[in-house]
Amino acid sequence: MGPRAEQERGVARFEESVLPHMDSAYNLARWLTRNGHDAEDLVQESLLRAFQAFQGFRGTDGRAWLLAIVRNACYTWLRRNRQQEVTTEFDEEVHTLEGDALNPEKLVLREVDSARVRQALEELPAEFREVLVLREMEGLSYKEIGTVVDIPVGTVMSRLARARGRLQRGLTSRPGEER
């Protein structure tokens, strides 16, 4: 096979296994940056960067691979533009699992309007926001989330547990309370 045919096959393979995940890439970037313009720039940049690196990609999960590149680009952007957000208090202790439980005020949410959920999710630290986006909106498994975020599967579980606990609190606290 000549270099030209190989090149075309590379583009076709990329279009087949990576480009279909553009919505996932944009959704993640949009939730991490909380800004449409920057998300668009970062996704475009990440896709072109992914294409450059694609020759070396031997895996089968194009989505997790692309999302990891997008996430890295977003964190670089956050560190440069939203320094205070990346350095928010963030400890990985699992013991708070118990603390989250049995909150008498915790209600089963019925008919929560999406505007409130959106706001509560946006107010979470990026590390919590991203695992919820990847798990609930993209339906990624713990293993896939671990690949994207570069943490062990056990950490994925504890982080999701804490993220859900905080989101619950954000939604059940009265407006104006907590932050």
């Binding site: 480009l19 949009r30 313009h37 475009q44 072109l48 089963v108 929560v112 999710l121 859900r164």
Partner: protein, 262 residues
């Protein structure tokens, strides 16, 4: 299974990440414990809320076609001429300015050739060539640390700086309040004459605004062109010709130009 154990495993249970044996254990506990069942139900309704389509951001129209175009031309150019294509592809990524030098160099050569063979005829073709020259200047300004000769966010510092360096006084506006921060000014050489280059910044994007006199020319509203992935907007106003260039998107560029024109 105890409440404590259940709480630890609840999320893995919720996410279908538990093995069947422990999954049955959790289910059995939930069937008999109201508190834990309530906790479980709360997380389930939270999940449903997060899966609401209204919270999902689909990629905007045009993004896919832009990426495909970039990939397509990247493939085609690379096939045609190895290193030039690679440089073109890199140029589209704003973090890699070094290879962009090759392209800017080529453009500069083009400009010099045009200069030697006389001025291009007036009209759209001339604007097109000049637009490319403006882009080359923009790219050069970003490469070496030669973005500004007078780094200042104060219009009253930038404007007088041009006195004695130019035979005209360019209008200088500070648009920081509107989200376009003035970064400074620079002397540039375009269309065979020294011109004023004002540098603005929007987020990570740098905007170069080149200004020089266009005596006797009527006011013309902005035209938009795309060269090398950069938006170039050109208009004339009050006997001055303006060129604004950036990798910023078209809408925000138009907003910027509207503010400059005001």
């Amino acid at each position: 299974m105890s409440c404590q154990e259940t709480r630890v495993l609840l999320h893995a249970f919720l996410d279908d990440e538990l093995d069947p044996v422990r999954s049955l254990g959790v289910q059995g506990h939930l069937d008999g414990c109201r508190d834990c069942a309530r906790e479980h139900a709360a997380h389930r309704s939270l999940r449903a809320a997060l899966r609401d389509q209204a919270l999902y951001f689909r990629s905007p129209q045009g993004l896919e076609s832009r990426v495909r175009a970039a990939l397509g031309s990247q493939g085609a150019i690379e096939r045609r001429a190895g290193w030039l294509g690679a440089a073109g592809a890199f140029l589209r990524m704003r973090w890699a300015w070094l290879p962009a030098g090759a392209v800017a160099g080529l453009l500069a050569v083009t400009v010099i050739i045009i200069g030697r063979f006389g001025a291009p005829p007036p009209g759209p073709l001339a604007d097109d060539l000049l637009g490319r020259e403006v882009v080359a200047s923009h790219v050069r300004s970003l490469m070496a640390s030669h973005l500004t000769d007078v780094p200042s966010t104060d219009q009253h510092t930038v404007k007088p700086w041009f006195n004695g360096r130019l035979d005209f006084s360019p209008p200088v506006k500070d648009l920081a309040g509107e989200g376009f921060a003035l970064v400074g000014g620079r002397l540039d050489y375009l269309a065979g004459r020294p011109v004023a280059a004002l540098v603005y910044q929007r987020r990570l994007h740098v905007i170069n605004l080149m200004i020089w006199p266009a005596p006797g020319e009527p006011d013309r509203s902005p035209t938009v062109a795309l060269h090398q992935g950069y938006h170039v907007l050109h208009w004339t106003q009050g006997g001055m010709g303006y060129w604004a260039v950036s990798d910023l998107n078209e809408n925000e560029m138009k907003e910027f130009v509207g503010l400059v024109q005001r």
